[in-house]
Amino acid sequence: MPLKRQTIRDHTAEANLFARRASIAFLVVVAMLITVLSNLYVLQVKEHNDYQTRSNGNRIKVLPVAPNRGLIYDRNGVLLAENRPVFSLEVIPEQIDDLDATMTQLTALMGITKEEKEAFYATLKGQRRFKPVALRTNLSEQEVAQFSVHKHKYPGVSIEARLARHYPYGDTFTHVIGYVAKINKKDLQKLVEAGQEDNYAATHDIGKLGIEKYHEELLHGEVGYQQVEVNSQGRIIRVLNVDPPVPGKDIVLNIDLELQMEAQRALDGQRGSIVVTEPATGGVLAMFSSPSYDPNLFVHGISSKNYSRLLNSPDRPLINRSTQGQYSPASTIKPHLALVGLDKGTIDKDTTIRDTGRYRLPNVSHVWRDWKRWGHGKVDVSKAIEVSCDTFYYDLAYELGIDNISDSMKSFGFGSYTGIDLFEESNANMPSRGWKRARFNQPWYVGDTIPVGIGQSFWTATPIQLTNSVNALINRGQRYVPQLLRGFRNENGTVDLEALKSLEPVKIGNDSHWDLVMNAMKLVVSGEEGTARHAFSDTPYQSAGKTGTAQLFSIAQGEKYKEEEVDERLRDNALYVGFAPYEDPELSLTVVIENAGGGSSNAAPVARRMMDFYFRDRVFETQPEESDSTPSETTSDISI
């Protein structure tokens, strides 16, 4: 048996051994499966919430949705800035097999330029391949049609629409409304500083100029969000949830479209500015700076050629002359100075001087001349305004001194920002001793004071400052911020008016002084020697105003100014400030026309044109007073 056992297999023992080993193997299998299961239990039950969160983080993305920009209306509800769908030709690189071949075909079909191609490839580099890249923006309707016909041949190329700003009145409102354009790095940096980058996450354009810039916050609105499900490539599969954006506010301007267009026509072909306001509120009815340009050029990115043409134009169209143009106010500020003189007691209503056409200071050889070579003769304060006597004001300025003039003119707003709702504003300059010291490191000489009396020398003002100072006269010292924003338009078309903003009033002790100056301004248009009486002859309404002629060119002592001999750019600026109707004024205005010559013959007629237009449909019961004396013999010589 032992021998047999060695040679013959013990099948039972072997079977038992195998059974034992197989059982052990099975137990090990069960143990390992339990390990796998426990691990899955940890993942799927214990840590389930964590992985659920991560899974959602993978698939759910929150995308910002741009709010619609608020619209801009004029005071009568005419739409001045609207949002229009614009079409762009967009390419999704991922969906195109042979991009270069497609580009060649598109070039032939759409006339894609080399610049467009370069810009396209530059954008392409930095983007993921499923994101659309614009090949051409702002397609015309013909281009849209042209491509649509061939659309089926170009998978991955499509025409996309988005809302973009459009200014239907073009250059009429450029300096008022401004424009929006694509957000650039600098804008982005400002938005980050203001903590607004999230709010602009989906926004394409931002206000760059004018109302669009100043009231950006109101017009923009608040960003909305869209919860979307994306796949691993980031492509949107479906929209899960929408938190809609809050659209920007629709705003209404004080501007009257018709009046604005009239201002543009009145300044056609000239450099200058017209500002028309409503004295009772400071609301700006019209404000045009000539020349202007088309803001729509900027919305889709102005070409460098067009931009440099605007930038380098000698007419400087980019400047808003109404708020940034610094002009010598010239004689337009004589009413203000007269008022200060009366208030300070330097003069009274009966103070007269004898004007010989020449003014000299004691012990000074320099001679200041009146615009009228032989002088106005015996002149009191009222007459001095009516005929715009320079000599009277030389003397008044001398008597008042620069400190009094500077301080009191600052209370009219000269030398400081009016606070109009535009960032493009200059505070111009109201000179003072301190200013001259700081600017030129020189003391103030008495000789410097004399031309200040006729609004010349260092004194400059913007048309909006001038208009607002006239409003201060009309309102007897009460001053308001001139505002473009009238209010907000509700869905039903009603308007919530914006509150008036008051400024520090001008304090004048005696009410009769206001009356005197206002009356003198009336005489400018209707007095027998009024400098604007020709321009305002036979108006159906009674207006008042003051002419101004600003010298840009010093003529040597003893020389005579001959307009035709002076270079055009050095000719006098023509100015006019005025208001109407005289009783209870509805409008006040400033007209400045550069290098046009005298104010009475060049600016005053434009001012009248504006007033005539404003009152075109009005019937006035009380006609203006007839001047009770015959016209003087000096009519033909009036050049101011």
Partner: protein
């Protein structure tokens, strides 16, 4: 002379040499596979049809293999092993490169992975070799067996194909273990294996394989690169929860965050959509198949059949464990599919051939006295 047992009592399936229990388990897995594949492929009916066709081929191969008597396999063992070995060498010398590894041998008429043949040839060879001697196996036989396992394992690892070499190695080792290798020796081999690990690391493993191990140890170190697979897979499984997100509702797979979702990582898709409950049921199906395989092995009449059946069954489990382990972050990522569920034909056909052998062992018994 071999005649079948109780021919009158045979059922229809037995007459076809098909094991009913095993077939039921395999069909259940295939069903799970197709349902999951439909979801994982993004509802691609074409892909499902191709896989169904492959499964039919697999079933046919299984049925054919089931008809061959176990003794024939025994006689073929050495030839299969030697031919397989020669082809492995040929692959290293002339093989086609696919996915950065030399695995394919182009025989003009068909492309063939010799490593797949070795998955069956190695357990056949070890079973043949050990069953020549009495059990428990002697030390010398164990050493020879290990050499017989190691040669093809190293050749496959050098292709490089870590997953298959792992499966081939374990199929041989299981046969040795089942043959009654002494526990002392097992302990010793485990120690040697531990010492061998650094040698593997420095001399045998390719850079990409090392990277997989590093990534396995800390997947978050490279969340967008090598760790991406594991992280996304764990997110898919974890977010499935107890009940799962529902069929076709798995966001990780439907939205393509999960890589290799219809092949090696299909288990993550399944876990995401059917949850822990679904996973448990799937594991029970696998366990049932393994249990049935071990029962067949235990009932087999001769040592060769027992060892072969046991080895095939346990190797099948290695597929399951390694795949689930790597997809759920327990093991490093080695390319092992989830058997009969993952999309793909090659390894599935090999598996089905193995099950055919199991069925042959189960249904073809000789009347033989002890």
């Amino acid at each position: 002379m071999t005649i079948t047992l109780n021919p009158n009592k045979q059922t229809f399936l037995q007459r076809l040499h098909i094991d009913g229990w095993l077939l039921a388990g395999l069909i259940a897995l295939m069903g799970v596979g197709l349902v999951t594949l439909y979801s994982a492929s993004g509802q691609d009916v074409g892909q499902m049809e191709r896989q169904a066709a492959r499964l039919v081929v697999g079933l046919v191969v299984m049925a054919v293999m089931a008809q061959i008597p176990p003794m024939a396999y025994r006689r073929l063992s050495t030839y299969a092993y030697i031919i397989g070995l020669l082809m492995l060498i040929a692959v290293l010398l002339f093989g086609d490169i696919g996915k950065g590894a030399q695995r394919w041998l182009d025989l003009k008429v068909l492309r063939f992975q010799p490593s797949e043949l070795m998955k069956l040839a190695v357990p056949m060879m070890i079973a043949w070799y050990i069953s020549k001697f009495t059990m428990p196996t002697k030390l010398l036989n164990v050493v020879v067996s290990f050499v017989l396992v190691a040669v093809p394992t190293v050749l496959i690892a050098r292709q490089p194909d870590l997953g298959t070499s792992l499966l081939v190695a374990s199929s041989g080792i299981f046969a040795i273990f089942l043959a009654g290798m002494s526990w002392k020796l097992i302990g010793f081999v485990a120690l040697i294996g531990g010492a061998f690990a650094p040698i593997m690391w420095f001399f045998l493993m390719q850079e990409y394989q090392k990277q997989r191990v590093i990534t396995f140890l800390n997947p978050e170190s490279d969340p967008l690169g090598a760790g991406y697979h594991i992280i996304q897979s764990k997110i898919a499984i974890g977010s499935g929860g107890l009940e799962g997100k529902g069929w076709l509702q798995g966001t990780q797979s439907q939205l393509e965050f999960l890589p290799e979702r219809h092949t090696d990582f299909i288990f993550a898709v399944f876990s995401e959509e059917f949850g822990l409950i679904g996973v448990f049921i799937l594991l029970m199906i696998y366990l049932a198949i393994i249990l049935r395989g071990l029962i067949i092995a235990n009932r087999a009449q001769d040592a060769y059949s027992k060892l072969l059946a046991g080895s095939i069954t346990l190797t099948f489990f290695v597929y399951v464990f390694v795949n689930m382990g790597m997809v759920s972050g327990l093991l490093p990522v080695v390319g092992v599919p989830l058997p009969l569920v993952s999309y793909g034909g090659t390894s599935m056909v090999t598996l089905m051939a193995g099950f055919g052998m199991l069925m042959a062992i189960s249904t073809q018994k000789r009347l033989l006295s002890r």
